[in-house]
């Protein structure tokens, strides 16, 4: 099997798993209890918090553990919106956000919070001029993702943070695709809130975190006990949090090497596919793009049919095509970038990672061209 869907999820690193295991059946104490079994669990949670904080160059007190990226996004948006509605109700985001942000915004819209969805250019970069123009005295929050999950485009987060600061508006970034892959320093970036998820960088599923800069007004998202200083109630997912901490530590140590190695593979795959398949488009920014992500649109064919044939060859990839979901709409990201719907339906995403080798790139670039050729032979739009 060749796995090239690391933006969807990653396998848990063996070293992460090893560190998690004792916290299921041996060190099972509830961190809120007072005996030493429980204190050991509490210490493990706090060590994980320090590791995550270190990865982000944050203070450990600014890290709140969540059940994952989606919860972190919902927490940030709803928590800031409700805590600051005395100041205003306007929220700014972009058209290419992950559904965790987009649908939280749609929810807030129904609750009376007006939302501006900023356009992007053909590379998927947010229109900064439109951003600045859309800020009003009522604006309380800007939420722009750090790197896009589908096409990999990296946003000018520092510039957006400066604009937000100038206008006294909080700035949240969904950094789920960035953290653990590329250096993310909350102080250098100047963000107020940041979401991350463990399973995108070789940690376990079901755990993530929200960074909240000290002093940011935010309401608790889940009410209950006093966990996470009352900001996120519920008994801590100790094994998961330990896993997130270990994954953060490993990422910090290994990401530089990994970036060099994987970028080479991704570039080679891109070069080979462009060379071998006529009429394909590479999506996303040519330079400011995640080093592991290759999104292409193959004209005249549809994404799911390509994925089905790749799956037969043991290759796991993904598509922004509508046919992989119940809706008939193709990827909102590609449409926002101005790609015509019929072309967007032919999108394929390869996202590479730790276990990909040169031979995988060779195999994919050998297998895909005949798949495309065969499907184009069936297509009414291909004049070959």
């Amino acid at each position: 099997m060749i796995y090239m869907d690391y933006n969807a999820t990653t396998p848990t690193d063996e070293r992460v798993l090893e560190e998690m295991l004792p916290y299921f059946s041996q060190e099972y104490g509830n961190p809120s209890s007072i005996y030493s079994l429980a204190q050991r669990a509490r210490n493990a949670v706090e060590q994980a918090r320090e590791r995550v904080a270190k990865l982000l160059n944050a203070d450990p007190r600014e890290i709140i553990f969540t059940s994952g990226g989606t919860e972190a996004d919902n927490f940030a948006l709803k928590g800031v919106a409700y805590a600051n509605q005395d100041k205003g109700k306007h929220i700014i985001t972009s058209q290419i956000e992950h559904h965790a942000v987009l649908n939280a915004c749609k929810f807030l819209e129904k609750q009376g919070f007006p939302v501006t969805y900023l356009p992007v250019d053909r590379w998927g970069v947010v229109d900064i001029e439109a951003l600045e123009k859309s800020i009003t005295p009522q604006t309380i929050l800007i939420s722009i993702m750090l790197a896009n999950n589908e096409v990999g485009t990296i946003q000018p987060i520092k510039i957006i943070a400066e604009i937000a600061k100038k206008h006294g508006v909080y700035f949240h970034t969904d950094a789920v695709q960035g953290v653990g892959k590329i250096p993310v320093d909350v102080n250098d970036l100047g963000v107020d809130l940041l979401s991350l998820s463990a399973h995108k960088f070789y940690g376990p599923k079901g755990v993530g975190a929200l960074y909240v800069r000290r002093g940011v007004r935010i309401l608790p998202f889940i009410n209950g006990g006093e966990q996470e200083k009352g900001r996120r109630a519920g008994t801590e997912n100790v094994p998961g949090i330990v896993g997130l901490g270990k994954a953060a530590e490993l990422a910090q140590r290994e990401m530089e090497e990994e970036e060099k190695r994987v970028k080479k593979l991704r570039d080679k795959l891109e070069q080979k596919l462009v060379q071998k398949i006529p009429e394909i488009i590479v999506n996303g920014h040519p330079q400011k793009r995640l080093f592991n992500t290759l999104s292409i649109c193959v004209k005249y064919v549809e994404g799911e049919s390509m994925l089905m044939n790749l799956d037969k060859e043991g290759i796991c990839a993904s598509s922004g095509s509508a046919c992989t979901s119940a809706s008939l709409e193709p990827s909102h990201v590609l449409l926002a970038m101005g790609i015509p719907p019929e072309v967007a339906h032919g999108s394929l995403r390869f996202s590479l990672g730790k276990f990909n080798r040169e031979a995988d790139v060779e195999k994919v670039s050998e297998v895909l061209p005949p798949i495309v050729e065969e499907l184009r032979r069936v297509s009414p739009f291909w004049e070959g």
């Binding site: 549809e302 799911e304 049919s305 089905m308 509508a322 008939l328 719907p341 069936v378 297509s379 009414p380």
Partner: protein, 127 residues
């Protein structure tokens, strides 16, 4: 990945009757590239019987499989018989389709109807 039946996969991977009929008696084009499915069905008619049928489809695995199946089902049939083919006939012949792919079988039904309609219109204008 979606749960497709063996028959759907087989027709998707080895589609029957792919291509264009240059001197077709009827052509039916249905679907919309915006929605990711376009099906073109070509028929050749002799004495009110469909003697040949081909297709070209832009779409998912289910769209290609239903196109392939519908061409097999109508070949050799009288036009009136072919008009009795419904989306259910096509889906059943493929041992079923996932619920979200229902529209693909509908497209196959509409495609063959559109081709027959086109044939009748052309025939009418010849008389």
């Amino acid at each position: 990945m979606l749960e497709y039946t063996e028959k759907v996969l087989e027709h998707f991977r080895n589609p029957r009757n792919v291509g264009k009929i240059e001197d077709a008696d009827g052509v039916g084009k249905v679907g919309n590239p915006m929605c990711g499915d376009v099906m073109v069905i070509y028929i050749k008619v002799k004495d009110e019987k469909i003697v040949d049928c081909k297709f070209q489809t832009f779409g998912c695995a289910a769209a290609i499989a239903t196109s392939s199946m519908v061409t097999e089902l109508v070949k050799g049939k009288d036009i009136n018989e072919a008009l009795n083919i419904t989306n259910k006939t096509v889906a059943d012949a493929l041992d079923g389709l996932p619920a979200i792919k229902y529209h693909c079988s509908l497209l196959a039904e509409q495609g063959i109807r559109a081709a027959i309609e086109d044939y009748r219109k052309k025939k009418g204008s010849d008389d």
